[in-house]
């Protein structure tokens, strides 16, 4: 077994548990995540003085149950993280293959557009676009996917350019294979490994970006719980309710950490050309 495989397995198990918690949030939650209860506001976690077993991780400034909000919040983080990467990956791979395979003006337009985007940090693009489009789950995914596709397109384009000239592709072409078949059977199977590695890391980055935008009030609108928005709501009560700042951040940390560990392992297994950084 390779080094890091143990950590990767443990990470997969943790990620699976978080996924299950998100799916079964209605069954696992001790309370309704969006029900206010002003009499119970800022109840500390159950093990602290003044805590109660009814709210194991305490309540927020509106008396909503923190554990329930964390469980439902996992849905936003995971859905945004994975859907964004799938959308950006699919678009990037498709455009990258087309650009690399056919070249010409299409390739030029794609790569120049990408240059413009790369000169631009995701967060700033997100703030600028969401300020215009308005907050919401769909817009969040759209904005994050728009800023992500170029990474995949660049990798796939580069690989396609070199594959296009390799003997086995030339041979298939000489045998009369059509472009579609060449791309599907000969180019794509050779690019998926680096793409899988990049995609895994970018799920982690996307989850952080989503939390950041939600923290700035540009994410999923209230009262839908998301981890970033919970941190935003809790930050003004940091002196009286430390748990409001601690738990959602820990949730983000754990999910992003295990995805990064899975990414490290995937890179070692799938992409031996990439030097083992750390």
């Amino acid at each position: 077994m390779r080094r890091g495989a143990g950590a990767a397995v443990a990470s997969l198990v943790i990620l699976g548990l978080v996924g299950a918690a998100a799916i079964f949030a209605p069954l696992l939650s001790p309370a309704d995540p969006i029900k206010n209860d002003l009499l119970e506001r800022l109840t500390p976690p159950m093990w602290s003085a003044g805590g109660s077993a009814a709210h194991p991780l305490g309540t927020d400034t509106l008396g909503r149950d923190v554990l329930s909000r964390l469980l439902y919040g996992a849905r936003v983080s995971l859905v945004v993280g994975f859907v964004t990467v799938i959308a950006a990956g699919a678009a990037g791979v498709a455009l990258g293959v087309l650009g690399g395979f056919y070249g010409g003006w299409l390739d030029d337009v794609l790569m120049r557009t990408g240059d413009v985007q790369l000169a631009f940090p995701v967060l700033l693009l997100g703030v600028a676009m969401l300020s215009v489009l308005g907050p919401g789950l769909g817009n969040l995914v759209l904005v994050l996917a728009l800023s992500g596709w170029i990474t995949y397109a660049r990798i796939v384009r580069g690989e396609t350019l070199s594959l296009r000239q390799r003997e086995f592709v030339e041979a298939a072409r000489a045998l009369g294979a059509l472009d579609g078949r060449l791309i599907w059977r000969h180019v794509l199977p050779n690019v998926w490994a680096p793409i899988a590695v990049v995609a895994t890391f970018s799920v982690a980055r996307t989850i952080i970006a989503e939390a950041s935008l939600s923290f700035l009030g540009l994410g999923v609108p209230a009262p839908t719980p998301s981890w970033g928005a919970m941190l935003d709501e809790g930050r003004n009560y940091i002196t009286t309710g430390w748990w409001l700042a601690l738990f959602p951040g820990t949730a983000i940390l754990v999910v992003v950490l295990v995805i990064n560990l899975i990414g490290d392992w995937l890179r070692d297994v799938l992409d031996p050309r990439v030097e083992r950084g750390m």
Binding site: F215, W242, A245, L257
Partner: protein, 307 residues
């Protein structure tokens, strides 16, 4: 060299043009900004007046033409909220607040990364290496703004105001936001230095230096690190750019009166002139840093040809 510079400059102008054009059309294609500028009870005539003041009653090509003529002169119109020229507001917030924060954070993240990375590489698979790698992994998996909240919780609340949580003015105000901003890039830089050093330490000239009795410190920092530093330059230059963007959120956490916070505050009020001017300045800085990094590359590594 000159041709390289000219081509990169042209490319840079293209990038900035692309960015401002994208924002210009996004603003106009997704609804009428004038509607957001007047209050809800405004009459049709009042809305029309607001549209006229913003130049929105002209045709789109006309507006775009006027915009393209005005933007290079730094004229993005007046801020809707404060009625001051948007560009002046942006520059006032960029300098000194944001530049101060970004530069201190960039220094922290590079200066600390070098000894950490070297230590990690020279003690590969030892205790120091494991601690440094685990630390890097944690810092990279943590949103910077959450680290900021934790720092506030620790220093301003638990330690009873050892360091101030909000505001600006003294160097003590700068410490927590700079650390929060520097953390993730520091982790990444330490990983890069480690990887670069591991690579270089195996090479013949390092063995030769050791064999002829050069002190280990000199071997590490003069012989090895100098050669491992080249990829590091790119990252440092670019990380300064990303510090500026990270500032968007860190400034909000710490109520730091910089450009990032200005842009974030302009969003709910739909203060489009400020958003456009801010985005323009950010894009300019990014392009300039990219160019600088390329030039520095050639200075440090004579093997790199600029063509």
């Amino acid at each position: 060299m000159l041709r390289f510079l000219l081509r990169r400059l042209f490319h840079g102008v293209f990038v900035v043009w692309g960015v401002v054009t994208a924002v210009f059309f996004l603003v106009r294609l997704t609804g009428d900004p004038a509607v957001f500028l007047v209050d809800q009870s405004a009459t049709r005539a009042e809305i029309e007046h607001a549209r006229h003041l913003l130049g929105l009653d002209r045709s789109l090509p006309e507006q775009y033409g006027a915009f393209l003529l005005a933007a290079p002169r730094g004229d993005f119109g007046e801020s809707i909220r404060s009625k001051q020229p948007a560009m002046r507001l942006v520059l006032q917030h960029l300098w000194p607040a944001t530049v101060e924060l970004a530069v201190v954070a960039a220094l922290l993240s590079t200066v600390l990364a070098v000894p950490l990375g070297v230590l990690s590489a020279t003690h590969k698979d030892g205790m120091a290496d494991h601690v440094s790698r685990l630390g890097s992994l944690l810092l990279q998996s943590m949103p910077g703004f959450w680290l900021g909240l934790l720092l506030i919780l620790l220093f301003a609340v638990e330690l009873r105001g050892l360091l101030p949580a909000y505001g600006s003015g003294t160097w003590r105000h700068l410490i927590l936001p700079a650390v929060a901003l520097a953390a993730a890039p520091l982790a990444q830089n330490a990983r890069l230095v480690r990887a670069g050093m591991l690579d270089v330490l195996q090479q013949d000239f390092v063995r030769t230096a050791r064999a002829k009795g050069v002190p280990e410190r000199t071997v590490l920092y003069r012989h090895a690190f100098k050669n491992a530093a080249i990829p590091f330059i790119t990252v440092t230059g670019l990380s300064l750019g990303f510090m500026l963007s990270g500032a968007i959120i860190i400034e909000t956490v710490f109520a730091w009166p910089g450009l990032g916070r200005l842009i974030v505050q302009a969003v709910p009020g739909r203060d489009f002139p400020v958003i456009q001017a801010g985005v323009f300045v950010f894009a300019l800085i990014f392009v300039a840093l990219n160019l600088l990094v390329d030039l520095l590359y050639a200075v440090v590594d004579p093997r790199v040809r600029l063509s």
